[in-house]
Symmetry: C2
Subunit: 575 residues, 2 copies
């Protein structure tokens, strides 16, 4: 027998490292321990299990060829020993021994290792508020709460639910509850927007509006103060500073923290946040011990800062790197760019790299270019508007991030993925202008929406395009911000512009795009023109023309009214 390899953790990174290590080192004796009875499940599928898309939890634990990934499977098919229900209590690094405990019997045992892999994962944050231990208050820590929630739903016990946290898991769980089970669901997000730090306010606003269109209430900028007991130990409401939200079910989806305690107790280096510190070969401060998955600290390749990236896909890639290094292959995992995508009812939202807010917080001189155009030829049946928001550093012209919103499908994925590969390599705006995205009318347009975003960013960074974002424009339209000299210059077809001119009087002037060169002198003087069309492209054209005629006090509404429409603003004239 070859080396003894012990792996603590049986989901994602752990099994991946175990199985590849066994293929690379057939002589190795590999043991995976996990305190749970269920292992190697697709945790990202939990919302789809709760929704009912996945009928049986076993589907989340099966291979594509329908074998259940249980202890027997790992032993017989993979040649890997798995001990479930076995909690790692401590690591004795000097003697290279893991002390374990049988979670059912309490019996103690030791497992000797030559190499140890920590894949201890993460745990969900529990809100430190009264009532967090009531019945029917859950976190999604494993398959077990998911099964308990689904059982409650199936027994008709849930009429109203509150999901705490508007991140990806919170939104996915809200959709699962509302769409399939018809539960009256509210998302309560402490930050001023959903998906904070992942996307910027405009894209988040589109997500919030679409959630509301589908019956999910979204309350932002408000936190839970306590969970109310119905008198029988069951939750019946969530209390906030402003309201009481009835709830038969509360899901806390307020982020996760790495499980680094075992490593810290063994004297391994752990970050202030509690994540295990590893080098690019996924080696901890003890060369005999590797770590991978949600429990480790990683590196953001765009910001250059330490990062935490708890994702099943990252965990799998790190697990593979661990296996390589166990076998003497010097593979590295260099860090993450933060690629993200999710379904939200009939839409999808995605991002990679830094949001504008994060980029500015990191000290970049960042601007965001909003590109709005058809994702494919206008005659192709599935054609729909796609919103791409490209974040660039103005002075260096470096691209820092991309986020987008579109109809459900893989079109947005195609742009996020294209950006993801480049972002790790300090790309310039020109790299994105010239990015050779595959083109044919059923898939894209000759100038792809992502190329177009780069072209807009180019014009913004060079100071040729001066724009105003949807938030500021809305605040002006709603009267919550004062811009006395502002007036809208609407370039659209007269039929489109008419209801706006009627509704807003002097504030809203219409002049059709192709008549501006002839008629611009008729525009009243002394205004700051907010130039408006549907997507922003005609507006930019007119901005450059007006500038050439000495009219310099103009701003283009970024992304045009297509953006505003997706935000569900109250001031939109009836049409």
């Amino acid at each position: 027998m070859g080396e003894k390899i012990v792996i603590i953790g049986g989901v994602a990174a752990g099994p991946k490292a175990a199985c590849r290590a066994k293929r690379l080192m057939p002589d190795a004796e590999i043991t995976v321990v996990d305190q749970d009875s269920l292992i190697s499940y697709g945790g990202c599928g939990i919302p789809y299990f709760v929704s009912g898309d996945v009928s049986d939890e076993k589907e989340l634990r099966s291979t594509s060829f329908h074998m259940l990934r249980d202890e027997r499977f790992f032993r017989e098919a993979k040649g890997v020993n798995v001990r479930t229900g076995t909690r790692a209590v401590s690591i004795d690094r000097k003697d290279k021994v893991v002390h374990v405990e049988d979670v059912n019997s309490g019996g103690r045992d030791t497992i000797r290792y030559d190499k140890l892999v920590l894949a201890t994962g993460s745990r969900p944050n529990i809100l430190p508020v009264p009532g967090n231990d009531l019945n029917n208050v859950f976190t999604i820590s494993s398959m077990h709460p998911a099964m308990a929630i689904k059982d409650l739903l199936a027994r008709g016990k849930v009429g109203k639910a509150v999901v705490i946290g508007g991140g990806a898991i919170g939104i996915e769980m809200a959709e699962a509850l509302a769409d399939l089970w018809g539960v009256e669901t509210t998302i309560l997000e402490f930050m001023p927007q959903v998906l904070p730090r992942i996307v910027d306010a405009t894209i988040a606003g589109m997500v919030e509006n679409h959630l509301r269109e589908n019956g999910v209430d979204v309350i932002t900028g408000e936190g839970a103060q306590s969970f109310k007991d119905d008198g029988n130990g069951n939750v019946c409401a969530v209390i906030t500073p402003n309201r009481e939200l009835e709830a038969d079910l509360v899901i806390m989806a307020a982020g996760v923290r790495p499980r680094g305690e075992l490593a810290a107790d063994a004297g391994l280096q752990v970050s202030p946040f509690g994540a295990i510190v590893v080098n690019q070969r996924m080696q901890t401060s003890d060369p005999s011990i590797y770590a991978a998955g949600d429990c480790v600290e990683t590196y953001n390749l765009v910001s250059g800062k330490k990062a935490f990236a708890p994702l099943g896909s990252v965990a799998n890639r790190q697990g593979r790197v661990v296996a390589d290094n166990l076998a003497g292959i010097p593979s590295t995992f260099d860090g993450v760019v933060g690629s993200f995508i999710m379904k939200v009812f009939d839409r999808c939202v995605g991002a990679t790299g830094l949001s504008l807010e994060v980029a500015r917080a990191e000290g970049f001189d960042a601007v965001g270019a909003m590109s709005v155009q058809s994702d494919r030829a206008h005659f192709f049946p599935t054609q729909a508007l796609m919103f791409n928001h490209l974040v660039v550093d103005r002075s260096s012209r470096r691209v820092l991030g991309l986020q987008g919103f579109g109809n459900m499908g893989d079109g947005l994925l195609a742009r996020i993925n294209a950006a993801a590969g480049l972002l790790a390599r300090k790309p310039s705006i020109s790299d994105f202008s010239n990015l050779e995205l595959a083109y044919a009318p059923p898939f894209s347009t000759a100038v792809d929406v992502l190329n177009a975003a780069a072209n807009i960013a180019d014009n913004l960074a060079a100071g040729r395009l001066r724009d105003v974002g949807a938030e500021e424009f809305n605040a002006w339209m709603e009267g919550s911000s004062e811009h006395p000299g502002w007036a809208a210059l609407d370039l659209r077809h007269p039929k489109e512009a008419e209801p706006f001119v009627k509704a807003f009087g002097d504030k809203w002037v219409a002049m059709v795009y192709d008549q501006v060169r002839e008629n611009y002198k008729k525009l009243p003087n002394g205004k700051t023109w907010i130039i408006i069309c549907n997507a922003g492209t005609r507006s930019y054209e007119i901005q450059t023309f007006l500038k050439s005629q000495g009219i310099d006090n103009t701003l283009v509404l970024a992304g045009g009214l297509n953006v505003i429409r997706r935000l569900g603003v109250k001031w939109w004239p009836g049409d």
Copy 2:
């Protein structure tokens, strides 16, 4: 008035350069000349116009906001003069004058320029065979033949058609004829496969099989010798060395050549192929003359060789670079990687970078890794198998290209685009293994099909995985190649394997994947085992195990039977 800029060519590169130049230099006097009466059309949309998806040719000439891009539009909205029906006859570089001719009146004129842009495009190859001038023999050179073809179809004049050439345009035209108009259509391709040099034989085979499934006949390795006259000057058949194909309509889609004559006649540097030579700023050998689009030579960023890339998307990007440089902005167009995608009925096929065949011809020590897996979580309704074929250089571990096949949708685009951005930068296999594609169950799998392709390539390049391709395997199964020692080792579920064992006797041995570790000693000796499963992953696992037990004479069927099934082989047992 500022500089006089003259642009020859009114489709794609020309209008793009004109409009951006005008925005950058509002004072410039910009004139576009084109010999055609119709300009600025989306040529890539022609198959969709012929099919009827696009009912009116005007749709291909309209903006997204429904304005027709005609002379009036360019003048009033863009401030650009357009002279249609005006052929550029010659360029007098000394006096900076273009001699033009009115194609209707024959009247001559001259246009003075400070800067000249050549966007003269390409022309389709005409087969040098007797009858190529018969009625109803077309090339797709502009909107006019497309309108003539559609007219023939609408008048019920076309029962049978032959499309010469199995490239993208040929396949798109065949689909348009067969799918929407019910025309009996045959594609005749001189090379041994469709999409030659773009994808390799296996992926091409999937395309051919799917075309046949949809009623389009595909004949490869056979050329047209002549077109037959029905006695009235109309084509009635295509004659090949082996057969006579009846045809009321013949479309020659046998590639295009650059229109470089005007440049060559003016003494500008032109490639042996006839393409205008430009530097990275799209400047010809005369610094006052730029060129862009189908008429120029470009550079393949993967092979490092000169290339010809006649695509509307490339033309638009080059047109923008021309405009920048006209305005003194030092933008560059560095070359192409060859990104490609197309719809084929219910499937799509795409590629970027080099195919295996081309890579080997270019001198690379190339191998191809075939990855076959679900494009998203198995429980998501639109889930389907996707085939990704990654081409890598074995010794340097550099990734050279990717091609794929999948269900119609943007899933394949998402992988092609992800690869495209990286390919220009000499990426390694590890770059693709760790490529951070966005992940969520409705969009992808934790180990994305593209990451998986890189992992397979890693194992191939390292010599850990030894495989056999579908072509060689099929030849053996069909008896056209002799491998006396070969036998299939089928790891699938007994129910899947049974019909094959029955059909092929000793040639086909079944042993379920998870029982090999226990039972491998029962396998007969002296065989070369072709290890078979559905996707190739189980086979690789067993190959490594058998090797560890001293059984080294094994080959994995690359991509498994999922590949074979898509090729529509004759030997497949009835199921």
